[in-house]
Symmetry: C2
Subunit: 466 residues, 2 copies
Amino acid sequence: MKQPVDLKPFFEPRGVAIVGASRTPGFGYGIPITLIQKGWADRLYLVNAVGGTLHDMPVFKSIFEVPDPVDLAVVILPAPAVPDVLAHIGKRGIKHVIIESAGFAEVGDGGRLLQEQATGIAAARGLRIIGPNCLGVINNDNGFTTIETLEESHTPGSTAIIAQSGAFGNVLLDSLPQRGLLISKAITLGNRMGIDECDALEYLRTDPPTRAIMMYLEGAADGTGLRKSLERVTREKPVIILKSGRTAAGGSATASHTGSMSGDDKLYEALFAQTGAIRAASIDELIDLARVFSTQPMPQGNSLGIVTTSGSVGALTTDVAVTSGLAVPPLSQSTVKRLKAEAPPWMNVRNPLDVGPSGLFAKALSAVLKEPRIDMVLAIPLLPFSVAKLYQRLGFELDKWFGRIASIHADAPEKPLIACAFGHREFLDIMARICGTSVPLLNSPEHAAGALAALWRYSTWKKTRA
Amino acid sequence: MKQPVDLKPFFEPRGVAIVGASRTPGFGYGIPITLIQKGWADRLYLVNAVGGTLHDMPVFKSIFEVPDPVDLAVVILPAPAVPDVLAHIGKRGIKHVIIESAGFAEVGDGGRLLQEQATGIAAARGLRIIGPNCLGVINNDNGFTTIETLEESHTPGSTAIIAQSGAFGNVLLDSLPQRGLLISKAITLGNRMGIDECDALEYLRTDPPTRAIMMYLEGAADGTGLRKSLERVTREKPVIILKSGRTAAGGSATASHTGSMSGDDKLYEALFAQTGAIRAASIDELIDLARVFSTQPMPQGNSLGIVTTSGSVGALTTDVAVTSGLAVPPLSQSTVKRLKAEAPPWMNVRNPLDVGPSGLFAKALSAVLKEPRIDMVLAIPLLPFSVAKLYQRLGFELDKWFGRIASIHADAPEKPLIACAFGHREFLDIMARICGTSVPLLNSPEHAAGALAALWRYSTWKKTRA
């Protein structure tokens, strides 16, 4: 197993050269704009063979003209030009390179040859390389980024992303803030000529703002290395993985995408189970798990309380929870008695607790959350939007109807609390505000119950490794 | 097995009495408003003991005062008042009743007694009853509805909904138009004192606008009856079912919700498989399956073509497709040759087909859809929203970049075509317009591949029964 590479210069460069800065729209045009906007103009050097100016900055005709300090180069040039450029970068004394260019191992024999050539040069010069065929990195701590994304994706959060694919990572990034997920750092690996997911995991393991790591993997660069990295990292932080290539056909598709061999899925299944990594079954579940793991404490037991306004969804959720290894135990007599004193006759005071249109949601949620025998709570505040609009007209805002869920959690912050709602978009927007940032609002009751079960499994696993 | 009840008077009443019309916000206040808005004022009669006027309409003090023709009564009164009112309704000669009131078998012994009493009166008077503990029906053909929902949910469509739970059905209804699903009819069953899912299935079987039926079931009212109904209906129309009560705890939750016994889940699994019903694993999947089954033709084989801009998502989707029983075969030589002539060197012309940022999405989609060896196509047009915004600024609208997907389908309407996109909301809104109503745009690639596999399995099943 190789020594992990320190990724600090990729995320906190002292100076960065954009080799292939360009007047034509594309990465070479856009990345400098983003870096200037993020306050990096004083540490940014643009390079292309033509020279002149771009975005009101001088363009250096050669990497050799770029002044110190500069410890990172971002290469955005056609693949055939990359080997020579790498040699120049190495000669200039820059040791860290992000190669965004595509056209290497993922396109077949010609590209593979080119990649081997580049790998040889990198080895000879002692270069550390992210890519090729990637988008590079984001560091929301200091605003450094080689990924053009929406401004809202640069709000600092507590989830780090490791993505093998650039495009997929970028589509995700653009939409995560709308799902309530904010990121600390992101790294896209591409063809993994040098830096791989093990390096990324080790770096993020000690990254202070990163509380949970989500990873999209097509195949391991080094199975033994991945096992060792996961074993080290999951003791400290949860790692949630979406792995494609489960089937031969899917595997063959990844080979032509990032040149990865995806391997036997059963081996990965075992690897993830043995190392305490959390496997997501879908993109949506990956996001939902990351939201829960990056915000919620570890549960002290597997007893789930469910509070809802819909008996149907309460039943569906109970099914998923129990199937996933959680218990949905009865409420204590004192809680039942207290709630019954206020409940209308049609309301069944039990767990799952369907309060229907009683208006008791907030009280019930608070009571269940404080129950000593309950270790975690799922709140499912559902209301037809037509009814919500009527309530609003009558002066009943939803934060009165359902309570300020974020504040309710503040009374028992040591227990995981997740909310789940689906329905009309406007209803969901209001509910997201009521839940705040400390209570993730998921849209799928099945994912919500599954995420709490995953949280419980991970907490158990972590205890055995402590 | 009992004879199915004709539900026509519930969906097309000649006249309807609202027993429990009310000046207090709630169903008794809102349902009349909705019916007046939908043009039913001339066939609507409001009844409560106080009389007077409501919504500028006279209120009859007794059901006996309501003039003919009236063949449906909607009861919105506290549970204890219901048995007597049922007797009056029967005496008045009205045979069809929707009881919206809760507080019957679902709340325990007292309610169960009340429900038995009501059942006895209904039997003596020959009444047909939907409910209690339900919201009644929607008929988007004639605008008749006893469910208050958003105006947009009344746009006529081709999916019918059978829901055991009122509140859940209503939350769904409010949000389905935003998911691109329009409904023909809806019926919520509640405690099923009289009308059950078999009656509903039989009625919808011959309902012309209904192309697919989606059903939320907590437990069968009559297992043998459900088997016979499903066998008859699925020969003609797909029935997609979400069934809760998989576990004992979930089952106990449904008992206290609509008084249902959910039964052994393995029996249901077998029942659905043997009758060709399609089982959804989650609420989201229920909706996605309904969208696909209500709009797409039956595939002639199991060969899937995948066209995408993301190699990762292409690989993930191939996994799900192959695991679900579909083939993702190579493209024909002539198609490969034709696409290669235009493709940039980095593009792998294969299936799944990742066109990356080549701009060839529309051409590729059209070519794959027309491939004789391809039976159905999944289009996955992904683009980071930041890039989409840049394209728009440069004058490249997304319908140029990805093609007008609805029009592309029009060239090969005999093959199922589904689109899948996720990411930023604004991007999804634009893509929904590009896909139109004939190509469902799903947000989960896993659901999209799974839905096509379900379509294939159903088409095979249907052939064996023809």
